[in-house]
Structures are given as C-alpha cells and as structure tokens.
Amino acid sequence: MATANIEVSETPLVLYALRRADDALILGHRLSEWCGHAPMLEEDMALSNIALDLIGQARELYSYAAKAEGKNNDEDKLAYLRDVRQYRNLLLVEQPNGDFAQTLVRQFFYSAFADLYWRAMMNSCDTTLAAIAAKSEKESAYHLRHASEWIIRLGDGTDESHARAQAAIDHLWAFTGEMFAVDDGERVLIHAGIAIDPGTLRGRWLQTLSDVASEATLVLPQNDWMQQGGRVGRHSEHLGHLLSELQSMQRTFPGLTW
C-alpha cells in the first residue's frame, strides 16, 4: 500500500524554505551515497561530514516551512511524502554522483554559491532564517574550502584527473544558472527583507570559480544556456529514483513511528 502525497500550501515563505531545504536534503543524500565507497578513508569522513551538515540544514528548514505553513506537516512528512513534482530543489544537486570529480565539481558550484548566499541571508529580517543562515554559512565556508582544494588537486594533478575535472565542469555548468533565478513570489520576500536577491551574488560567485579554476588550470565554459525547472518541480529523471529510495520505508509502512 502506498501512502498518498501530502498537500503543501506553498505560500511564498513556505516555498522559499522548502526550496532551500530540498537543496540541502538532496545534496546531502547524494553525498551520503559515497559513505563506505570513497577513494580514501579521509574522504569517506569528509563527504559524510558535509552530508550531515546539509541534512541538518534541511531539517531546520523543513521544520520552519512546516511552522510557516501552520498545517499538520513536519520535517519527515515534507521530506518523505512529496513526490518528484512537489520537490523544489535545484537540478544541480540531484545530478548523480558520477565519478569523484563530478561529485566535487557539483559541490564546488553549490558551495561557492551557498557560502555567499547564507552569509548575505544572515541579514534577513526573519530571525529564524537569519539564525539558520548563520549556522549554514559557517558550514558552507568549510564545504567550499574542501571542494576548492580538491578542484585544484584534480585540475593540476594528473592528465586523467584534469580531463575528468574539466569534463565534470563542462557537464554540470548548465545547471548553475538556476541558483540565481528568482520568481515573483520570492521577489515579494526580497522586497520585504526576508530573502536576498541571489542575482546580486553571481559576480562574486563567478570570481570564486575563476580564481579556483585558474589555479587548477581548468577552464570555465563560455556557453550561457542554462537548464531550469527544479524550483517548480520539473526535474531530471534522476530525482525520481533518488526519492524512491529515500522514501521507501515511509511509503511501504505508512504512518508508523521509527
């Protein structure tokens, strides 16, 4: 027996929190897939650690979304009982791990953004979001450092690692534009000082990427075609498989406490 999806009243604030929560959960889940299978034990530790930070961020954001919605939902219902069309994460974070280069480039693109984003969000007039941002910013700074160091090692390592890192950059580039997009609902929050405009961060994000890529002897793509859709539930085919695994227990055994 399958449990039906929950309904969520997506007010701008609820949707805002859900989108960031979904980013954190899906990326955390992807990273957790490495646990026990990383290229070295130190990376089993590091990737698990980053995954834990992200899952922690997701839990706080889901709880806040549930509170803002004021219905009967909670962090687990929001995570486990929405289907692929209800998920609001960036396409970037749901992309499969691929090889270690692909995982680290995905992390680098995201963390370079998240670091700037959460730092700016510390000034939100919403005290809960400002507090979540303060914690997330500290974590993101470490995630960015870890990813940057690996991009440099891989780019300036061997011919093979260079080729793999460059291929990952070329492959994932088209998923980065979505991070800076804003819709009407979010614009309302921006005007109210609750959210910040991610578009204003793109220049600095690009600078971080260029600096690291240059040290890594890697090249950022010139093409500016960007895939979008994650924020409104139009995902890649990958997310459905991830969710079927993530949600399998809650879907198989409806309504139980674990």
Binding site: L25, H29, S32, E33, C35, G36, H37, A38, P39, M40, L41, E42, E43, D44, M45, S48, N49, A51, L52, I55, G56, A58, R59, Y62, E75, D76, A79, Y80, D99, F100, I152, R153, L154, D156, G157, T158, E160, S161, R164, E245, L246, S248, M249, Q250, F253, L256, T257, W258
Partner: protein, 330 residues
C-alpha cells in the same frame, strides 16, 4: 567496530632475541606498565599486535558497508543523520586504528592491501546482510554491545597506542549501542509489523553475534601468549558469557525472544546458551558467508575506482613541493 579473536599462535622466537631484554619486557608487562612504540618488544609481540589492530581496523571499515546499506533508506531524517554519523564514527575508528597499527612499523597501505588481497581477516559478523531497518537497530544493540564487551578490557591492553585508541572507541561504541537499543525499543513499542521485524532481526543476528567472541576456549590456539602479554585479559568464553548475561534481560525488556529454546538460567544467575554451530563460523571465515564476496568486492571497487584520485593528490603534492623548492632557490 570490533576485533575478533582470530589470531593464530605466533612462534615463540624469544630464544633468538636477547633473553635479558625479553625478561625485562615481561617484567614491565607484569608490573602493568604500558609498552610504547619506541620501546623494545619481542618480534612476536609486534606481529601479534599488528595483526590484531589491523584486523580491528579492517573490521571497522568493512563494517561500514552493512550499515551504509541503510543510510539512503533510513525511515526518518533524524534516523538518517544518526546512522550517517554512526557509520562516519566507524570510519574514524578505522583511521585511528590504522594509525595505531602504523606505530608498530607497517604502513596503512600495506595493511589495506593485505585486506583487499584477502590475506587479512576482518570480523565475521560483517559477512551477514542487513535486510530490514530492524537490522540497523540490532547491529547497534548486539554487534556494538559485543564489541564493547570485548573492547573494555582492551582499554588496559599492554600496548599504549592500542589501549588509548580503545578508550575513545569504547565511548563512541557505547553511544552507538544505546542508539541501536533505542531503535529496537521504538520498533517493539510500534505496530505488530514492526515487532515482527525486530524479532526477525534478532533471530538472524543472535548466533552470528555469539560467534563474534571467537572459537570456544577448548579449541582456542592463541590465548596463552596473548594473556601473558596482557593483550587479552578474558577468554572468549568468559566474554561471551558476560555478553549473554547482560543481553538476556535487555531482550526481555523489549519483549523479544532469544532464538535459543534450550537456554536456561543457572542458580548463580548465568544464562546458559545452547551449542553454537561452529561449522557456520568456519564457513564464514573461509569466505563462504552470505556477503563475503560482496564485501570484499565493494572494498576493492572503491579502492580501484579511487586510484586516479589518490594519484592526482600525490601528483599535485609533488608538483607543489617542486614549485616551492624552485621558488626557494630563486
């Protein structure tokens, strides 16, 4: 997570070494002094410890696989985070133990290679599959419980780095054990389906967990030297009995039945268990457990697929060192 009593006897080669030093060494052990990496030690002591500590490290690392199997399917976000943190702890134990083993003169690479080549053992318990979420609770409760029973005495092991590693590891294991028991408690207070899941997991794990303590004392080959060197302080059967005595009341509290109809309680309070199927144990050690091939294949795959990453890191480090030297020379 756990070291198992798998060591075979080392030949006593002290005759070839300085008899005076050997006597001094034993006197230090008898006086409960800790042996440190730079101290003189008999070659057989070094070899026994290298083997035991590295087996323990391999067990931590292979032990990540059965539990890791449920990270992506944990039933709530809280459970997911707790399980991920637990498996990460096991990895940390592995790293810590490899470092302790390295103080005896063998590199982590050599030790890992021996495991991947199938020459070094790891705990037999990890060759069983985790089929349901209740297995995650059961592993925490019983496997970590057995590990603690075995490792508490190792906190007083004569070799300093191992003893100190065990103190830290035991603290974390004890947390894992409580976490596992709490998962079981939640299941046992849940639906009929959840209770059945918990009982089924206990049925499958009980006997393999008892085997974790190693062969019965009547057939154990190595206890004499290990005991004399204060690496081992209790026999396999003594530890197994302690574990059973501690666990039976816990199972009763959960309302679960230990899958041993012949179990009885002595007048002195000890729970006497039925004969263990040592054929199964030997089969698992020989590579014929349900997951032996999968476990080693997973470790080999991670190692092989990570080779280019490790090469890249080494190459980059060499380039950077070269550039720094060149800069300094300018």
């Amino acid at each position: 997570m756990y070291t198992q009593a798998l060591n075979t006897a080392e030949t006593d080669d002290r005759g070839l070494e300085d008899a005076g030093r050997a006597a001094q060494f034993q006197a230090r052990i008898d006086a409960e002094e800790r042996i440190e990496p730079n101290d003189w030690m008999p070659a057989a002591y070094r070899k026994t410890l290298t083997r035991q500590i590295s087996q323990h490290a391999h067990s931590e690392i292979v032990g990540m696989l059965p539990e890791g199997n449920w990270i992506t399917r944990a039933p709530s976000l809280r459970r997911k985070a707790a399980l991920l943190a637990k498996v990460q702890d096991e990895c940390g134990h592995g790293l810590y133990l490899y470092a302790a083993a390295e103080t005896l003169g063998t590199s982590r690479e050599e030790l890992v290679d021996a495991m991947l080549a199938g020459k070094a053992k790891y705990s037999s318990i990890f060759n069983y599959p985790t089929l349901t979420w209740a297995d995650i609770g059961t592993i925490g409760w019983l496997v970590d419980g057995a590990a603690i029973m075995n490792q508490i005495p190792l906190c007083r092991c004569s070799y300093g780095p191992y003893a100190r590693a065990m103190i830290r590891v035991c603290k974390e294991e004890s947390f894992h054990q409580r976490q596992g028991y709490e998962i079981m408690l939640t299941l046992c207070r849940g639906s009929e389906e959840q209770k059945a899941m918990a009982q089924d997991a206990l049925n499958r794990w009980w006997w393999p967990v008892l085997m974790m303590f190693g062969p019965p004392d009547s057939t154990s080959q190595h206890s004499d030297t290990s005991t004399k060197w204060k690496i081992k302080r209790f026999s396999n059967d003594e530890l197994r009995q302690k574990f059973v005595d501690a666990t039976v009341p816990q199972a009763q509290y959960l309302g679960l039945t230990i899958p041993d109809p012949g179990m009885t309680q002595d007048a002195d309070g000890h729970w006497r268990y039925s004969e263990i199927d040592w054929t199964e144990f030997k089969q698992v050690l020989a590579g014929n457990g349900p997951c032996n091939r999968d476990r080693i294949a997973a470790r080999r795959k991670a190692h092989a697929e990570g080779a280019w990453v490790r090469e890249a890191a080494a190459s980059y480090a060499a380039k950077r060192a070269h550039r720094q030297t060149a800069q300094a020379a300018e």
